[in-house]
Symmetry: C2
Subunit: 362 residues, 2 copies
């Protein structure tokens, strides 16, 4: 399906027309124009506010995975120790990425339907003494939101480790304080809460992280090298995308105008309605406890009478598209993405009503 | 300057409204929709025609440098030998990239204002017996177009090397036959002749290149891993950008409708007018011989009476923006980009008339 009548996929989400209007203009060269570097700087400032951080912001041209790879490759050398705190697919993925470059990675693993437990994580950090600790704020496949980033950040800092956090699908839609949680590298994508094209990968980078990055001196497309002080240097390692950067600006301005607290409430309201309606029609939440659930995405078990393919087909016949799942969660669970442009109770109600209708006629 | 009255920068070029209309739509998720994979496949076919190749086509989300890094990192291991045929900044850049991953790189170097000489390149290949030979079709900073890709390709094949060619700023605007030149990995960006946003990096990959890529098994954002058989597998390592892919389709369709020979003629006409008018007003071409000049970009020396900053400022006062230069060419030379949407004699004449006016009043 090229266009969705009711789209509730957990990213890439529907892109509002007001953000797509960035492409109405024909821009000059982002390589050389002061106006582009001013826009880059303005976006840095707006992102800092949304993330509650004074850390530097790097905005790269590529999908969110670009930021994840950059964080790993720019900080780890072969033999270095990394601890991946994991209660899901993306948490584990960090360990695979680290091992692919020859780092020594351990996983502090929790079940996919649960959250990391701070004391166990702390003990693992104290024992393993890693150079890098990674965590995932919202595990999009599981539909869970980690609630102990600050504890992990404190423990990481105690052993001198950098704390790397993937908040690709939560930032802007769920409370997050990068500085309070001592997050040295924070990772964000543009096609989730920010509701634009998947073309930008955003990283917040602390001064201590920059020190490590400069020491490691990794070169590649997925490198932060050359991205420090972009607005001051007016130089970037490759041509940036002015249009995406303008769309990001429209999105950040919109979020700022709405207010972060309002956005969090809008996401929580949409998520609660989703869970309440789901439970009411007999759907079973994948997370073990409702308190583990993310305000940006809800993961339910697929109703027993359906295969994923049959269920998806039925919903699509009624104009609704939701998300399937990946890895060990594929085939058993499905996801409602209520983030950014899709975090509205009216839209979620419309979608959940279709699910109810399909279930009643099955 | 945010918008150019007359833009003749050698990429990113002006994006026609007809391509930007791709962003008028709100698409579904590129991760899961058959229509996206069909579009990806259609673009692969159109690119194959434009490049004259049966080789596989990979379309990544990122700037053209992503393709350059991918070609190097996916084929070379530390200690492997690479020969960079170079008559310019990008040619040399390949060697730096290879050395950054611990490969043994040699440069077969020619002056920036000249072209590689096939016999010397052949001798170097025969003696060094590299695993990879790289070359650059159009050296955008120099404004030159290499004319011996077939000879280099033959020599590379003779020693069993892969032949990697950067045709980022030439393909579609200058004759190029990937299969005849035995190009194993060919590299293309979207913001040059194709005249869309800089968000796509395109690679043509031969079966022998895929063999090496699979053996090297490099992991990273800048990896081809997971990008073989995308339309068949309906799976990609990250979320793609449906909008950019649609814009690419509109551009490729437009180029196909125009016809390649027509496009080459349009580029050559614009380039010839640029050179003729330039010489007529006393500008000196940077390439040693006019026969070295690229049909997509012309590099002149900056008139003696001006610094680059003064000259650029004067031209901008008249509404014209051209390109400066990089590395050792910075400050001495400037560039007229007549590629894709800017390869029209009327536009080039308008721009060159402004340069003439500025020179007359200096």
């Amino acid at each position: 399906m090229e266009h969705y009548k009711i789209g509730l996929v957990p990213g890439p989400v529907s892109i509002p027309k007001e953000f797509r209007q960035a492409w109405n203009n024909d821009y000059g060269s982002s390589d050389i124009e002061d106006e582009f570097f001013a826009l880059y700087h303005e976006n840095q400032k707006l992102i800092q506010k949304i993330l509650h951080t004074d850390n530097d912001i790097v905005i790269n041209l590529g999908e969110g995975m670009l930021a994840l790879w950059a964080a790993i490759k720019c900080t780890l050398l072969p033999g270095d120790k990394m601890l991946a705190v994991s209660s899901g697919l993306f948490g584990e993925g960090f360990a695979d990425m680290a091992m692919s470059i020859g780092a020594e990675a351990e996983v502090c693993a929790f079940p996919y339907d649960s959250l990391p437990e701070p004391q166990k994580v702390r003990d693992h950090i104290m024992k393993f003494k890693p150079k890098i600790v990674t965590a995932v704020h919202c595990e999009t496949p599981s539909g869970t939101l980690t609630n102990c980033l600050a504890e992990i950040g404190n423990a990481a800092r105690e052993v001198g480790a950098l704390f790397v956090v993937d908040f690709v699908s939560s930032a802007g839609g769920a409370p997050l304080d990068v500085d309070e949680c001592k997050i040295d590298i924070g990772l964000l994508g543009s096609q989730k809460v920010l509701s634009i094209t998947p073309s930008l990968a955003i990283s917040s980078i602390s001064p201590r992280a920059w020190e490590v990055i400069e020491r490691v001196n990794y070169a590649g497309y997925d490198s932060y090298k050359g991205w420090r002080n972009v607005p001051e240097n007016k130089y970037m390692p490759y041509t940036h995308d002015w249009h995406s950067m303008k769309a990001l600006n429209l999105s950040l301005e919109s979020l700022t105008r709405e207010g972060l607290d309002e956005s969090f409430k809008r996401h929580e309201d949409a998520a609660k309605l989703c869970r309440d309606m789901g439970k009411d029609m007999g759907l079973k939440l994948f997370p073990k406890s409702e308190s583990f659930c993310s305000p940006t995405v809800t993961t339910f078990y697929i109703p027993e009478q359906y295969s994923w393919h049959e269920f998806d087909t039925k919903l699509r016949e009624h104009g609704l598209v939701v998300g399937g799942n990946y890895g060990s969660l594929a085939g058993h669970t499905f996801r409602i993405g209520h983030m950014g442009s899709q975090a509205y109770v009216e839209l979620v109600r419309e979608g959940m009503n279709i699910i109810r209708e399909v279930l009643q006629h099955s």
